[in-house]
């Protein structure tokens, strides 16, 4: 499980319009580890994830993702890096009018040259792989169904399949289950967990629900007010201790 870190943040700081969002955060994530990032809203979880794939750039400190520094990358190099990092959004980021299969196929765009439109514009080999990934998230039979007719949980599974088609070395998930019901949440997190375990992919997943984080992750990292306040293996933690972070945060920041 433990190898060279796929992700290393050193003393990273980031602010928007004069408000500090992240303040001196350091974090190493080794290969194959499932890290749950917890903390109240506004703690800086989303910003941290976006620093990792270069959608934001740090104001101070350094980010090294899969051995690259996103801040120092050229445009094409950043694209290549992003292709190696999967990103799962809270609101899925699917094109609702297109089929599940086509949305999954979009995960391969970085490996293709021209703009694509329509399932048939993608190579057959990619279509076969896309169906396999849809099968892996249990939705192969829905491949030609429009995404806006799928349930929330199904849509998020399509988004996970799209990420899988990138053959990612690291998956970032930004509140992937925050808009889902409990059953769908468990299912999506199980899928992510299984992928992490079977393929040895590191996952950094921000979560709201303490119980889900404890049940899924190998390691819990908690943020509060832009600072890292807890970093421990999930095994030794209790829900009560984790919840304290939310409560004290509410008392102090509110």
């Amino acid at each position: 499980m433990i190898g060279t870190p796929v992700l290393r943040l050193s003393e990273v700081g980031k602010g928007f319009h004069g408000t500090t969002v992240l303040d001196g955060v350091s974090l190493d994530v080794p290969q194959g580890q499932f890290v749950a990032l917890v903390g109240p809203s506004g703690a800086g979880k989303s910003t941290l994830l976006r620093l990792v794939n270069g959608m934001h750039l740090p104001d101070s400190g350094t980010v090294r993702t899969l051995g690259e520094n996103p801040a120092a990358c050229s445009r094409s190099r950043l694209r290549a890096l992003r292709a190696r990092v999967g990103f799962v959004f809270q609101q899925f980021g699917l094109v609702g009018r297109l089929s599940a299969l086509e949305n999954v196929l979009m995960g391969s765009l970085a490996t293709l040259r021209l703009p694509r439109y329509g399932v048939m514009s993608y190579p057959r080999a990619l279509r076969i792989r896309a169906v396999e990934h849809l099968d892996r998230v249990g939705l192969a039979d829905r491949r030609f169904q429009r995404c806006d007719t799928l349930s929330g949980g199904q849509q998020q599974r399509v988004a996970v399949a799209r990420t899988l088609l990138q053959s990612p070395e690291l998956i970032l998930a930004d509140e992937p289950v925050a808009s889902l019901d409990p059953a769908a949440s468990t299912l999506v997190l199980d899928i992510l967990k299984r992928i992490s375990a079977e393929d040895g992919i590191s996952v950094v997943c921000s979560l709201h629900q303490v119980e889900l984080a404890l049940a899924t992750a190998d390691r819990i990292v908690a943020l509060r007010g832009g600072r890292l306040v807890l970093d421990e293996p999930a095994a030794g933690l209790t829900a009560e201790r984790l919840r304290e972070i939310y409560d004290t945060a509410g008392a102090r920041d509110g």
């Binding site: 970085a110 021209l114 279509r127 169906v131 491949r143 199904q154």
Partner: protein
Amino acid sequence: MVSTTPATRAPAAADPGPLRPPWSARALIAAGLLVAAVAVTWLTFWWIGLSPASLAAGLDDTVRLLRRMWPPDLPGAGDVASMIAETLLIAVAGTGLAALASVPLAFVAARTHKGPRWLRPPARVVVVLTRAVPTLAFAILFVRIFGLGPLAGALAVAVHSVGMIAKLLTDAVEETDPVPAEAARACGAGEVQVAVSTVLPRVFPALTGIVLYRLDINIRASAVLGVVGAGGIGVALQTALGSLNYHRAAGIICVIVVLVLLLELLSVVVRRTVLRPTAHRRTAALPAGRARHDVGWDRGRVLRVAGAVATGAVFLVSLWSLDPDPGRLSGAWPNLRAVLSGMWPPAFSGELLMAVLESLLMALGAAAAGAACGLVLALLTAVNTTPWRPLSAVVRVLLVVVRGIPDLVYALLFVAALGLGPYAGFLALWISSTALAAKFFADSLEQLDPLPHEALTSVGARQWQAFAAGIWPQFVPSFTGNGLFVADLALRESVVLGIAGAGGVGYLMQESIATLRYDTTAAIVIAIAVVVYAIETLARIARRHLL
């Protein structure tokens, strides 16, 4: 819906199953529309003889005309003011009359209407007919009946506006929650009472919005009514062009453009203030010292009443300015009888059908070409697709100016430059369709969900790929819908461009009225209504299946 567990793996590795999506009706309709657009454009180009060489020659002629128009010669300030005032009053009177007529019509035409059933079909027919026949077509007829001047213009504006206002108001009425109406009925209220006390208050904001929007359109329309002698600033334009006084014509066009641009500015400001949520609502607590049954006068009520009184006063002044003295109105009666009795039976002819076909081709070809050019301009202007912000601002301003000039003015100019015929009409429609399409497309591009684009960027897609996969598929329905709407508008315009001699059925219509061949007029009006309604219905069906 989380029924399939991911653990149950189908033998995917061996047989991945179908990899080609089944053909859907949506794809077929989309492909059909595209093929039809290309075919119609090609047919139009062939019909009017458009080629790179003829375009270059046309450009030459147009530049020569513009040189002859320079410098513009403005009429005196007093003349300008009175022409503008007449134009505005025509629009206000027409819109006001239309609004008054539309309210009962919309209530009767609504599906939720519970009164006498037989009233609905005729109400619907009136709505469809008045909307399908353009203002200028009505203006030609009314000039014949009521004589030259703003009265004919205002009535033409009113009759055509009834169609749109009543249609939109009908939709608003049908969308209101039916429960309050049922509650009022349960109290024993009659249908008129139900409509006035429960439905009208709820559609009033919508009605205000629709009427203001229509007023905006009508002021633009009133600016060119004078071309057929129905009053307003267009009379001066027609006189100047007719006497080949191009400097004066250019001056009047400048006045029209400035007027329309000011209006655009005003409507943006009004929309912002109206749409902004009011900061303080009336509190539930009653002010002290007021009788319990007394509504009292607070600031909001004073403003509302003052606004209503001012609106009513302006409307009455505008009616009075039309000079509707009884002698004139009764003089119109025999004319009306002659026109109506002369209309039966409608006289269709091959010539007429060819002219209608020419209008149709001009409109569809111009709309298709305009949609293509407009798409490029929209991609340059929309904030989420523009390659360079300053360019976006420049194109935006340019588009507002281009849209500010009425189609008929373009047609008059192209006819003066290139001579009579559909070529001039096509160019006029092409320009206006391009500007309209660019605006519609840019607006809807900016409303798209940005998340798929962001998701694809995080996948490592190139800019073009992220556009093609993340933005374009979302944009297809509004592209089609707005494109069809542009075609619809172009068609309504194309049937009147003939008045300027720019091809199509408009010329025949004007001629038939001038020569008192009202049976031909009737046939033309019927043909226009049928074609416009057919295109609108096709557009509606296509939109429904594509969304």
